[in-house]
């Protein structure tokens, strides 16, 4: 018997390896780490008790979307942690298979919410991916090149990123996109990627710096806050940033928004580039006058979840550790902040509106923020919040997961859409750009009209109506 053949037989039943081969060979690829001086150790340097904290009870298994799909332990939090531990114990190397597994994990952190033992899976996961990148187990020229361009090139240079964003907008506005689609040029792409072109986000004509002034305030502000514009949010959903500033203004804040902001580095940290992530963190911290701000506000769940970990990321950096710790304390998700200061209810007449709420993983699992966005929505006159079944189940966007693992991502997207449609609403609120795009795309695939909006945009709309009325 040929074992290789046998495992092929089995893998056809398992969505994991087939999609992985493609995925890992393209985007989630290591810049080999050659010559990088690391202040971030690998699994072996980790405090062993963090790994031991997992007492393998299995309570996290039913909440893990990848385990749910395959019912195989390797694709579960408990299984993944056992592999990390095997590496820390020197029983196994960071093999290619290990690397692929770490990139099959969504990083959705549902397991963290479920884990009674308090295992910090998110931290383990970042260290493990970084280990994979350092080992070079997934290296190949194409993956390296793409990663290098994206993670080290594009997403470390905010001005360049905006330029590309403008290009993207031009491409769509000029009709190039239409031509591409009509001529079915995407047929030239490898099969796994044909779906991708239709996913290319719709960029806005304007960026945050065009529509938000560096300092804005109404009379007698009670709070002074810094505003993070994000990068994906900035290019694709800059209106959400404007809405956030408007909501902050309506709630008595003076808002400081530095014109040029680097990427927060979450993309890098989640993709094994902890050094670059640290670099970006330092630069971002430096662009705010931390001492004189009450809070730094983010409206993107994925960024927020990472931004709150700057304290740990830079704890080994003597020059920045104190600032980073302070940063982590002041960093607030917009819903969290509004809930703390008390949301001012919009004074508008109630127009009936049924809305459901999809919880971004990095808000509900990553930051444990679940009540506050609901409070925001419920503060809007006339808005009826219809609870979404499985609201905390990942939608499959997961950073760039929908690009690297198209099959798993599509299954999750379909499941999410089914749940949304079951509520019978025409608007779904969500607070993360990745989820936002994933839902828009999902609705399009399902051939349904569905409004996708940030909760803060809905609130901003209510405040604007207020002005019109009175």
């Amino acid at each position: 018997m040929s074992p290789a053949k046998e495992s092929e037989v089995h893998t056809t039943q398992n969505p994991r390896p087939t999609s992985l081969d493609v995925g890992s060979s393209v985007l989630n690829v290591g810049c080999s780490g050659a010559g990088s001086h690391s202040t971030h150790g690998g699994l072996k340097d980790l405090d062993y008790s963090i790994l031991q904290q997992c007492m393998h009870c299995g309570m996290c298994l039913p909440t893990c979307p990848t385990y749910d799909a395959t019912k195989m332990e390797r694709n579960s939090p408990r299984g993944r942690i056992s592999l990390m531990r095997a590496i820390a114990d020197g029983k196994m190397d960071a093999t290619r298979t290990f690397g692929e597994e770490m990139y099959f994990c969504l990083g959705c952190l549902a397991c963290e919410t479920a884990c009674p033992a308090g295992v910090e899976y998110g931290h383990l996961f970042e260290v493990a991916r970084s280990e994979v990148e350092k080992s070079g187990a997934l290296n190949n020229p194409r993956r390296n090149a793409i990663r290098s361009v994206l993670l080290k090139g594009l997403f470390t240079r905010p001005r360049l990123l905006r330029l590309v964003g403008r290009g993207l907008w031009f491409y769509q506005a000029s009709g190039a996109q239409w031509i591409f689609r009509t001529l079915k040029l995407n047929a030239l792409l490898p099969k796994k990627f044909r779906n991708l072109e239709t996913q290319t986000p719709t960029a806005r004509a304007t960026f945050s710096c065009d529509i938000i002034r560096p300092v804005e305030a109404h009379a007698a502000p009670r709070h002074r806050v810094g505003m993070l514009t994000g990068c994906v949010q900035d290019i694709i959903l800059s209106d959400v940033n404007r809405d956030t500033v408007d909501v902050l203004l309506a709630n008595g804040c003076e808002v400081h928004t530095p014109k040029v902001q680097v990427c927060c580095g979450s993309l890098h940290a989640h993709n094994g580039e902890l050094e670059t992530a640290s670099d970006l963190a330092r630069r971002l911290i430096d662009s705010f006058d931390l001492e004189n701000l009450d809070a730094i506000i983010t409206n993107a769940a994925g960024c927020g979840s990472h931004l709150k970990t700057y304290g740990r990321l830079l704890e080994g950096d003597a020059a920045y550790s104190k600032k980073a710790a302070q940063w982590s304390v002041k960093l607030k998700d917009i819903h969290e902040f509004l809930s703390e200061i008390g949301i001012r209810q919009p004074q508008t007449t109630a127009t009936p509106h049924r809305v459901t709420y999809h919880e971004a993983c990095h808000l509900c699992h990553g930051q444990k923020i679940t009540k506050q966005p609901r409070e925001v929505l419920k503060s809007i006159p006339g808005l009826e919040l219809v609870e979404l079944p499985e609201s905390t189940w990942c939608c499959g966007s997961a950073g760039i997961y929908n690009i690297t693992q198209p099959e798993m991502a599509a299954d999750l997207q379909e499941r999410k859409l089914k749940n949304i449609l079951s509520t019978g609403v025409d608007t779904v609120a969500t607070a993360n750009p990745g989820c936002h795009l994933q839902l828009v795309d999902g609705a399009r695939r399902a051939g349904r009209t569905l409004e996708v909006a940030h909760p803060i945009s809905l609130l901003a709309m209510a405040y604007r109506a207020e002005k019109v009325v009175g």
């Binding site: 018997m1 074992p3 046998e6 495992s7 037989v9 089995h10 039943q13 398992n14 062993y48 008790s49 031991q52 904290q53 997992c54 007492m55 393998h56 009870c57 299995g58 309570m59 298994l61 039913p62 019912k71 195989m72 332990e73 390797r74 579960s76 408990r78 299984g79 056992s82 592999l83 095997a86 029983k91 196994m92 093999t95 298979t97 290990f98 597994e101 884990c115 009674p116 033992a117 308090g118």
Partner: protein
């Protein structure tokens, strides 16, 4: 041997998912039990009784040991592979096949998740009471194999009280169905009952026919807070002596309370020495009266406060928090070694005191919680397996606790089974003759010893 088995299985069952890479096998080398680990040679995921039977037959021919696994939440090492074994994981045989509302039964594949069974029953307005702490992931087959208890054991009993029939693959590869939908049946030996609690050593359960009961009309949940552990234990004894049988009487000590509260944030009193979670269900009038009497008894025996859950959500939040007790304890120390000592309920206060003293004597940290209404305690050592000196003290303390439980007329394990972890203590808990009969039974069902060998006892 395994090579021959692999090629046989591959030829006959090419569609069965299989795992044989190191990275795939490591996650199957342990279960919920601390400190035990052995690698399997192969993991297979059969999807029907026929496939299980065929694989067992192949294994018999090749002399390869077969270890059955549900979700691997076992706490005695039952599903940990033995050297050179193949693991049959039933996680893909997870369908609920039938809810029979006329006969109040439910038929499920053995890999069905316990919570899914309970939910399916509830959808039909019925009730499947056994609710082990692990119910959201444990399999019904694993529950049968361990005869698992839960939080409602006091009033509703344990898994065996709900098993009406089983489909079982025998070591020979033959498939039997034992039991039926009849409430009464004395036609011959009750083979069904032999498989319950047999930990995968006598046969592989592939289907389970369960008894359901009507859903109780109401329930009420109380939390009684105590300044000493003994007063909680005495309250339990007093409730039982007053001939009240609530469905739940769960105990948490101070260490456990704080760990659970860290996780669940449901407002447990962090400064209490112990709490009892009490639930009564049934007819509204009876429930109200029982709740009042129990609150009164708790106060008489030293409860500093008794709170009533005001909403169903609050009540279920408390139950969910309690289910997290064991895993939450892992917050304190790297290794959590949990015991399952069980004593007659009149002896609870003595047992609790002895556990405390033993911890002090050996300078060990212990968190204790458990199904106190069943006399079933889970003293849990909070330790570090890398600290060999401390681990030695844990072993000594463990043995003393077992011996004491047995001397009170109790047992070494109330619900987690013997598996690997309690093997050396089994002798103390049962007579030689009992053990000898068990061995004879094992060899009658599995003469070649291929089903989960060297679990419970050595052949």
């Amino acid at each position: 041997m395994t090579a021959k088995f692999k090629s046989l299985a591959a030829a006959q069952f090419p569609h069965i998912a299989r795992l044989e890479e190191k990275e795939d096998l490591i996650p199957y080398s342990f279960d919920g039990t601390a400190t035990f680990q052995t690698m399997p040679d192969l993991v297979l995921f059969p999807t029907s009784a026929e496939e299980v039977a065929g694989l067992v037959k192949n294994a018999g021919e090749c002399g390869v040991p077969v270890v059955t696994r549900g979700s691997g939440t076992g706490l005695s090492g039952g599903s940990i592979p033995v050297e050179g074994s193949v693991v049959l994981c039933l996680s893909k045989m997870n369908r609920i096949l039938e809810v029979d509302e006329k006969n109040l039964t439910l038929l499920a594949e053995a890999g069905a998740i316990t919570l899914d069974v309970a939910t399916a029953a509830e959808k039909a307005g019925l009730f499947y009471p056994p609710d082990p702490g692990s119910m959201k992931i444990s399999t019904i087959g694993g529950n049968v194999a361990e005869n698992s208890g839960g939080l409602r054991g006091l009033k509703y009993g344990v898994t065996k009280d709900y098993v009406m029939g089983l489909e079982v693959v025998l070591a020979s590869g033959e498939v039997i169905f034992t039991g039926n939908k009849c409430v009464k049946d004395v036609a011959g030996y009750s083979l069904r009952d032999l498989f319950i609690g047999s930990e995968g050593t006598l046969g592989i359960v592939t289907k389970v026919l369960l008894k359901l009961i009507p859903k109780p009309a109401t329930r009420r949940t109380l939390m009684a807070v105590f300044a000493t552990m003994e007063s909680a234990a005495e309250t339990v004894s007093a409730i039982i002596a007053a001939k009240i049988i609530p469905c739940t009487l769960e105990f948490l000590d101070a260490v456990t309370i704080n760990c659970v509260e860290d996780f669940a944030k449901v407002g447990l009193p962090r400064d209490a020495a112990a709490i009892l979670l009490i639930e009564t269900d049934g007819h509204p009038a009876a429930v109200a009266e029982e709740a009042d009497r129990m609150a009164e008894l708790a106060r008489q025996h030293g409860a500093t406060s008794v709170q009533v859950a005001e909403t169903a959500e609050q009540a279920s939040a408390l139950a969910t928090a309690r289910r997290a007790a064991f895993s939450s304890l892992a917050r304190v120390a790297p290794t959590t070694i949990l015991e399952d000592a069980t004593v007659p309920r009149s002896e609870l206060a003595k047992m609790i005191r002895f556990i405390q003293e033993t911890g002090q004597r050996h300078n060990l940290k212990i968190g204790t919680f458990g199904h106190m209404g069943d006399g079933n305690l889970h003293p849990t050592f909070l330790t570090n397996e890398r600290n060999h000196e401390e681990m030695h003290r844990v072993e000594l303390a463990m043995k003393e606790i077992f011996d004491f439980a047995v001397s009170l007329g109790g047992t070494i394990t109330g619900e987690h089974g013997v598996g690997l972890a309690k093997k050396e203590f089994l002798k103390a808990a049962t007579s030689d003759l009992n053990l000898e009969i068990m061995r004879r039974m094992k060899s009658a069902f599995d003469p070649a010893g291929i089903l989960n060998p060297r679990k419970i006892f050595n052949a």
